[in-house]
């Protein structure tokens, strides 16, 4: 139990929608969500396939705890080959869509082929149909959801889809669900757009059943009682991190030219909670995903008098506001200290369906190209693309969402943009994916985590935080990164969020929930092995896709230009010293290829 033991397979080329039994042997070995979706993708598709071709598949995968009463049990993962990276993409989201898909009776939704014309998928339990999307193609995520909600008149119907960015194959287009939650990274929205699939509307009434409901209920309450450190996350959200990294000296600023942003105090929780000169307060309230007992989401309003929205009342309502990553990408990365401008750019990301981390990272790279004269007003369409320009940020964000003007260049992502204009070293990416909000010089473990992340630069594929804030010495970091990558792979595959781990839960709390909900014995050894198996499977996908040791690296700036201030002042990332130990600890050879013994131990032959 906990699994629905069914998958829904939709072939857009033929129009078929088939319900199939879940491969329980794979579910027992890969748990669900990220792990199980990756297993299906690996088995069913040639990893060398072009990400935007009909041969690529896109899988919406729930975990066994998705849709249960376990706290944060609303997560799902979009698994595909990433349009941004060419690597495996496992992009995780919250909101309420994942739980609804699970309650409709499906552990996985596998989309294959390409539709000859725009369609959307409508699911109500066993009733599944592909519908003409001509009336919603070209609409934003928000317009699409409003139109279909009015059509079906069911307030519990949930939507996950793309905006114009996905339609125009923006390389970092994302899948947005519930209007402001997103499977954000690696360009999964571009894959959906390449298939002419606009959105998925789902309503489920079947519920989700635990193995032993009474025991599960007790354990849910027991572990909730251990979530003792959640008040800060509820009050300040992840934005609390901005003061920490800025104080430590690891907040990427101006395309990683610096690791400290003097305008951070205009983007921090105090700024979000304090009235501005017009008496306007950015935050309205916090928000929670399905079954969440934390509520880290920010629901915010832009000052109606702000330049970005003063004549645009459609943006005067409350929606998903700045979290730490968006405050970095649309703030410090671009040198912008205007909280309303960054909030507006974030709204545009949700509306048009773009990953704000990659959008901000790419605009930051473009600002540096502009700063050194590699591009000028003739390229930008007259936009003064200077670090710190809130106006330029808002203009470029909107152009990118629409795929117009210089926005079409930004839509390529930082790597392709910097290559096009002759300065590939200015792209702060790994495997083509833009950095998250931590600098790998003052946080050496994070540098290793970025370099080795299977989906490209990512702050959520390992947990080096505690050790990184303790020391910049590299001893012990390879072990922490290697082991936490496996732990996170397991957690991501459960259907729960990672954030309870920062609010008092330990790995054991996740394991007890999985064990109580699912059949068979999920002991600690099995949990650790499952996490490692998932991590290595993702690695195997990437190797077959043509990625290798050359891609487990960092930009020249992080490897050769010392950090300018903070606790890591004078340091570069010592990746070359950590990487061999990391490979060895994983049971991989010197080229980062899992050995035969490792594959045999994990039943990956």
């Amino acid at each position: 139990m906990a699994w629905q033991k069914q998958i829904l397979r939709v072939n857009l080329s033929t129009g078929s929608c088939d319900i199939e039994p879940l491969n329980m042997e794979w579910a027992e070995a890969y748990l669900g969500s990220r792990g199980l979706g990756s297993k299906y993708l690996y088995e069913e598709m040639d990893p060398a396939t072009d990400a935007l071709s009909a041969e690529n598949k896109i899988i919406f995968a729930t975990g066994p705890l998705t849709g249960t009463m376990a706290s944060t049990g609303g997560r799902y993962t979009v698994v595909t080959k990433g349009a941004l990276t060419g690597a495996i993409a496992c992009s995780n989201s919250g909101g309420k869509f994942g739980a609804e898909l699970k309650m409709a009776g499906y552990d996985l939704l596998i989309i294959e082929g390409v539709s000859a014309k725009p369609v959307y998928l409508h699911i109500e339990d066993d009733k599944v149909e592909l519908c003409d999307a001509s009336e919603i193609w070209g609409k934003t995520v928000w317009q699409t959801e409003d139109l279909l909600a009015a059509k079906y008149r069911d307030p519990l119907m949930r939507f996950a889809g793309i905006g114009q960015a996905g339609e125009s194959l923006c390389r970092f287009a994302c899948v947005v669900n519930d209007k402001h939650r997103a499977a954000g990274r690696s360009g999964v929205g571009a894959v959906m757009g390449s298939k002419n699939l606009k959105t998925i509307a789902v309503r489920g009434t079947k519920g989700v059943h635990a193995k032993d409901p009474k025991a599960f209920y007790k354990i849910v309450n027991d572990v909730n009682a251990r979530m003792t450190d959640r008040d800060e996350m509820s009050r300040d959200g992840t934005l609390a991190m901005i003061d920490v990294t800025n104080g430590f000296g690891s907040l990427p600023t101006n395309n990683n030219r610096s690791v400290r942003f003097e305008g951070a105090n205009k983007l921090n929780p105090e700024a979000m909670h304090s009235p501005n000169e017009n008496g306007h307060t950015n935050i309205v309230t916090n928000g929670a995903c399905f079954a969440c007992t934390i509520g880290c989401g920010r629901i915010c309003k832009i000052d109606p008098k702000h330049f970005s929205v003063k004549d645009r009342p459609e943006y005067h309502g409350a929606s998903g506001g700045l979290e730490y990553e968006t405050a970095y990408a649309l703030g410090s990365a671009c040198g912008v200290d205007d909280i309303d401008a960054a909030t507006f750019a974030g709204f545009l990301c949700n509306e048009y369906g773009m990953d704000p981390i990659s959008l901000g990272g790419t605009i930051a790279a473009a600002m540096e190209l502009y700063d050194i004269g590699a591009i000028d007003d003739s390229i930008t369409g007259g936009i003064k693309l200077e670090f710190g320009s809130a106006e330029a940020l808002c203009q470029i964000a909107e152009l990118t969402g629409k795929g117009e003007g210089f926005g079409a260049d930004i839509a390529m992502g930082s790597k392709r943009l910097c290559e096009k204009y002759g300065h590939p070293d200015l792209s702060m990416t790994v495997k083509g994916q833009e950095f998250a909000a931590y600098d790998g010089r003052s946080m050496q473990g994070m540098g290793l985590a970025y370099a080795t992340s299977n989906r490209g630069a990512c702050h959520l594929r390992a947990d080096p935080y505690g050790h990184d804030f303790e020391t910049t010495e590299i001893e012990g970091k390879a072990k922490i990164v290697a082991e936490s990558q496996r732990d996170v792979a397991f957690l991501d595959s459960s259907g729960l969020c990672l954030f309870p781990g920062g609010c008092g839960w330990g790995l054991e709390d996740y394991r007890t929930l999985v064990d109580a909900a699912c059949e068979s014995d999920w002991n600690e050894a099995r949990m650790l092995e499952t996490g490692e198996r998932i991590w290595v499977l993702e690695k195997l996908f990437n190797l077959k896709a043509g990625l290798g040791k050359k891609d487990d690296t960092l930009p020249k700036r992080i490897l050769e230009e010392p950090a300018d201030v903070g606790t890591g002042k004078g340091l570069v990332c010592r990746l070359d010293e950590m990487l061999p130990e990391y490979y060895q600890l994983n049971g991989w050879d010197a080229e980062g290829v899992p050995t035969a013994a490792t594959l045999k131990r994990l039943n990956l032959n």
């Binding site: 008040d231 800060e232 009050r235 300040d236 992840t238 609390a240 991190m241 003061d243 920490v244 104080g247 430590f248 000296g249 105090e270 979290e323 730490y324 990553e325 998250a436 909000a437 702050h459 959520l460 947990d463 935080y465 505690g466 804030f469 303790e470 020391t471 910049t472 990672l498 954030f499 781990g501 920062g502 201030v565 903070g566 606790t567 002042k569």
Partner: protein, 83 residues
């Protein structure tokens, strides 16, 4: 002497009454040490944090050996993660 201390993240909620958003001023005897200063802050014992003085992280073992100066920039960071 007056020592200015900045508490980031959730630590700011343990600032003494009357403090600004995330800063407070603590009175410490001249020649006082870091461990004495930290004891004057009303932070619960179970709360973990790291201390940075003038951009240098300080190890816990050294708290009692470090003499605090009035112009030191002292920052306390909670070990939070994610984002």
């Amino acid at each position: 002497m007056d020592i200015s201390v900045t508490l980031f993240g959730g630590l700011r909620h343990f600032l003494p009454a009357g403090s600004s958003f995330n800063k407070c001023t603590i009175k410490l005897d001249d020649g006082g040490h870091l461990d004495e200063l930290l004891e004057l802050l009303p932070i619960p014992a179970q709360k973990k944090y790291i201390v940075i003085i003038n951009d240098e992280k300080v190890s816990r073992e050294a708290y009692a050996d470090i003499t605090v100066h009035s112009d030191d920039e002292i920052v306390l960071l909670p070990p939070i993660k994610g984002g």
